[in-house]
């Protein structure tokens, strides 16, 4: 789950990291009032779950309250990567002496949390990594002991040659590492971490992504989810316990298992079609999930044919068949359905489907080809 910058800032501030003041506005008037209170130049920043905000015009400087009103009005009208901007962060403009990068991720290769720093901050860190990898420094941390003081200080000296600033940066790293575990993050970044002309080290921006598997035991973090930043169909799918991602094709896919779901989408493409979505109904077979899945897929008007691909293991084919039949009673299905199922209780499922006027295939390639054909014709 992605957090907004203002939410991440608040969490880092709570962890003791120096973060400049800043407030959130939902209207241009609110933005002007906040800027007026600060009584100095401010930055107005779009709060959306999309990278490249600056390039998209979502980050602007304003000299006073009147300008903040104008900038906020413009930014609140933007859509960045398809997402509407509903909130802006208004924060005092900082005096910057130098900009660095500080981030923590869980690295799959070393299987450890890795703290990364770069003196080349303020820009896209992936670009730095690609163009000048020698400017990125990392330390893998044994999670059982945490980030040790000497490890933090060693990294901090990569950013600042003087002990005064290095000490501040090292303290921030250790606080950030604590916050990383306390929030159940899979990624946290401060970009830029700045030093001011007075020699203070401050976090000017914050990005935090939380591991979805942490949300159940961290209700306060889960409550930060901004549903308005997601597609409605994907919110409904999550509520129904389905994993769904909408794409732009015309063959709706309903599959059990993430790997098979991806392979099914790939096969749709292989036979010349375009998948309309990724949808994994999960391992346990519950007819209601199938009803929810069909409802969500048919709500996508781009869908011209619907393909079921079920490999029964824990999922019982008869449960899926019952779900399909139940769905046809609850919603009007005006598009053709191709059903492929094999595995646990396959014969029972075929009987259920036949009784309701459907036919079922057992071969994956045959089913995908048929769905692509119907999708093109529809």
């Amino acid at each position: 789950m992605n957090l907004h910058e203002y939410q991440a800032r608040a969490l880092l501030k709570g962890a003791g990291i120096p973060v400049p003041d800043g407030e959130v506005a939902e209207t241009a008037e609110q933005a002007a009032a906040i800027a007026g209170r600060f009584g100095r130049a401010v930055v107005v920043k779009a709060q959306v779950h999309a990278g490249g905000r600056g390039k998209a015009g979502g980050v602007k400087l304003a000299r006073d309250a009147a300008e903040a009103r104008e900038r906020a009005r413009d930014i609140l009208r933007l859509r960045i990567k398809g997402l509407p901007v509903k909130k802006v962060l208004v924060a005092p403009a900082a005096d910057i002496a130098s900009e660095s990068y500080l981030g923590i991720i869980v690295d799959r290769a070393t299987q450890c949390p890795v703290v990364m720093v770069s003196p080349a901050g303020g820009v896209d860190i992936e670009e730095v990594a690609a163009a000048t990898p020698e400017k990125i420094f990392r330390t893998a941390v044994d999670a059982r002991y945490g980030l040790l003081p000497h490890q933090a200080l060693g990294l901090a000296f990569r950013l600042y040659p003087d002990l005064a600033r290095a000490r501040q940066a090292a303290a921030i790293m250790r606080q950030l590492y604590q916050a990383f575990f306390a929030t159940g993050a899979s990624l946290v970044e401060i970009n830029p971490l700045i030093s001011t002309p007075e020699g203070a080290v401050v976090a000017l921006d914050a990005k935090l992504v939380v591991d979805d598997n942490e949300l159940e035991r961290r209700p306060q973090i889960a409550a930060l989810r901004d549903a308005s930043a997601e597609l409605e169909a994907e919110i409904r799918a999550r509520a129904a316990g389905l994993s769904y991602i909408q794409l732009s094709g015309n063959v709706g896919c309903c599959v059990n298992g993430a790997g098979l779901a991806m392979a099914t989408m790939d096969l749709v493409k292989y036979y010349g079609g375009e998948p309309a979505n990724f949808l994994d109904i999960g391992g346990s077979s519950n007819p209601q999930k199938v009803v929810d899945a069909l409802t969500i897929i048919s709500a996508d008007r781009n869908v011209r044919s619907i393909l079921f691909n079920i490999f029964g293991g824990i999922t019982r084919c008869d449960d899926v068949a019952n779900g399909i039949v139940a769905a046809t009673r609850q919603i009007t299905l005006d598009r053709p359905i191709v059903i492929r199922l094999t595995g646990t209780n396959e014969a029972l499922a075929v009987d259920i489907l036949k009784g309701a006027g459907f036919s079922a295939l057992t071969d994956m390639d045959e089913a995908v080809q048929q769905a692509v054909r119907l999708g093109a014709a529809g």
Binding site: V106, R108, A109, Q111, C112, P113, E126, A130, D142, A143, R144, F180, F181, G184, A185, S186, D211, D212, N213, E214, E216, R217, S243, I245, L247, V255, N256, G257, A258, G259, L260, A261, M262, A263, M265, D266, L267, V268, K269, Y270, P275, F278, D280, G283, F311, G312, G313, I314, T315, T342, G343, T344, M364, D365
Partner: protein, 292 residues
């Protein structure tokens, strides 16, 4: 012969009285797996299916029954501790089926398990099956046939699909291993490739990867350097958009890395025959096996 699990596996089922644990324990017993004990705290002294003694702790189960492996079906909130418990009891093969363990928990679990000389398979994996010998986990036994193909995969049902195609063509398997779809897992592709390379019963290997991370690229490097048996590979997620998690926690294309195209290219560079679709597995295996 086979890898990781075989006739000598003496299995403890952690969470044997739960909904999933009891269902799959029954399936494993039916398949012929030697389940010597079950563990559910507070249910020690009971007997599962009139033949498997249930204990309160894994240590007790191991001591009383001589168990050497464990499979974990406990809920996500308790699963990390269940892995620690199995390792502390001295079990050397630990299979964790449970999905949803936070990645940060795994950063502590993995070194702990390794330092105790145990192998963890998973978490969030379907387990392993050595057809005709032993099944640990949830892979449906009826789709497998004994034979000489080693199968290793990050996925569940996609593995079943490919195994189903192999079995249908008379190509049996030595062992099928599901390593799991999470970002941090105990047993990697490379571990499995090396095990298959050293297993005299395995003649050829099928490796099923997906988008996200660089484990497949690392595996490709290992194949080029030290795997002499023929390898056939598949990568799921060619149509996946960047930045969106495709079900598995590990299946996400971040930045420019982890794409299907990149992984397929790494496979090809290492001499791995790449399938364009699951059905290609049979012709590619036949073709490869005919090369001496």
């Amino acid at each position: 012969m086979s890898v990781f699990i075989n006739h000598d596996t003496r299995l403890v089922v952690q969470g044997i009285t739960g909904r999933d644990g009891s269902f799959h324990a029954r399936q494993m017993l039916e398949y012929g797996t030697a389940i010597v004990a079950g563990v559910t705290p507070g249910k020690g002294g009971q007997t599962f299916e009139q033949r498997v003694p249930v204990f309160n702790t894994v240590a007790e189960a191991a001591r009383e029954t001589g168990a050497n492996a464990s499979v974990i079906y406990v809920p996500a909130g308790f699963a990390a501790d269940a892995i620690y418990e199995a390792a502390d009891a001295g079990l050397k093969m630990i299979v964790c089926i449970t999905e949803g363990i936070p990645v940060l928990d795994m950063t502590r679990v993995l070194p702990y398990v390794r330092e105790r000389g145990a192998r963890l398979l998973g978490p969030n994996c379907p387990g392993a099956i050595s057809p005709g010998e032993c099944k640990v986990g949830i892979i449906p036994g009826q789709i497998c046939r004994p034979g000489s193909i080693g199968v290793v995969s990050r996925s569940g049902t996609l593995t079943y699909e490919i195994v189903h195609q192999l079995s249908g063509a008379g190509l049996g398997q030595s062992t099928c291993v599901g390593i799991g779809g999470d970002p941090l897992i105990g047993t990697s592709f490379v571990d499995c490739l090396e095990a298959f390379q050293n297993d005299p019963a395995t003649e050829a290997i099928v490796m099923i990867g997906e988008i996200g991370g660089t484990d497949e690229q690392t595996a490709a490097r290992a194949v080029r350097e030290r795997i002499t048996k023929p390898v056939v590979g598949f990568i799921a997620g060619q149509t996946a958009p960047p930045g969106r998690r495709m079900g598995h926690a590990g299946a996400i294309i971040s930045g420019s890395s982890g794409t299907a195209a990149e992984k397929m290219a790494a496979f090809r560079d290492a001499g791995i025959a790449v399938m364009n679709r699951p059905a290609d597995v049979v012709p590619l295996i036949r073709e490869r096996r005919s090369i001496p």
